[in-house]
């Protein structure tokens, strides 16, 4: 699957949802020492490992 291109609004929504999940105890999908959920979520998005898609309808 080619890397999905998201608008900045979609990126914000994904990072927001993902960082909230991480702060609520979801497993982190990258190797990183950090405990900052927002940083981890952005890092995951950069590496394209977040299992979240956007429905555009």
């Amino acid at each position: 699957m080619s890397k999905q291109v998201y608008t900045r609004y979609e990126r914000a929504r994904i990072v927001g949802a993902r960082s909230l999940q991480i702060s609520m105890g979801a497993p982190v999908l990258i190797d990183d020492e950090s405990t900052d959920s927002l940083y981890l979520a952005m890092e995951e998005l950069d590496r394209d490992v977040i299992p979240i898609t956007v429905k555009r309808d």
Partner: protein, 188 residues
């Protein structure tokens, strides 16, 4: 009566459960959410037995949890008017006896136990007929008919099921046995 049904519902999976297999956590979440719950049309949900289909998850604004739509098999119990049901007396009180009919308890009013007048014997925790021939106490197996159903969804404990035993072939199982005996004796 008990029914096996295919139901659909949405469950919330908390973020800390996302590491597990989706179908397992969805099934557990369904069990936690639904088992023991009483619905006016479905009745009491006794058990979630199998998971058929788990849809796509949805993430809502302001909550990190994932919401899954699921289709699953469940066993439900719904008391139906006029249904004949066997149960166990779980408690006797002044005004009657409470009978466990599976997932719920029903009330058997004193006036509905026998054609005889029943009085409450508090010392022994049982109901005696005036003629003294018949008694009903905790632990007795009875066959009854459901004559009134009022289900309260909000307070399942407030749900009321009315029972009667004042009909042919209804009553404590021992009485039914007694009633059958003389006929077979006459036959011999």
């Amino acid at each position: 009566m008990y029914k096996k049904m295919k139901l659909a519902d949405t469950v919330r999976i908390a973020p800390d459960r996302l590491a597990e297999d989706v179908s397992i956590s969805v099934k557990n979440a369904l069990k936690d959410k639904l088992e023991g719950r009483i619905d006016k049309t479905l009745g009491a949900i006794v058990a979630v037995t199998g998971l058929d289909e788990v849809g796509e998850g949805h993430i809502l604004v302001g909550d990190g949890a994932v919401y899954y739509d699921a289709i699953f098999d469940a066993i439900v119990f719904i008391p139906v008017l006029q249904e004949v049901i066997e149960g166990l007396v779980v408690e006797t009180v002044e005004f009657g006896a409470f009978v466990s009919i599976g997932a719920m308890d029903g009330l058997l009013h004193v006036s509905q136990i026998t054609d005889d007048f029943m009085s409450y014997d508090g010392k022994n925790g049982r109901l005696m007929s005036k003629a003294g021939g018949r008694s009903l106490a905790e632990g007795d197996h009875v066959r009854t008919r459901i004559v009134a159903v009022s289900i309260d969804e909000r307070e399942p404990r407030e749900s009321k099921i009315g029972l009667t035993m004042r009909q042919h072939a209804l009553g404590k199982l021992e009485w039914l046995e007694e009633d059958r005996k003389p006929k077979s004796d006459a036959g011999v």
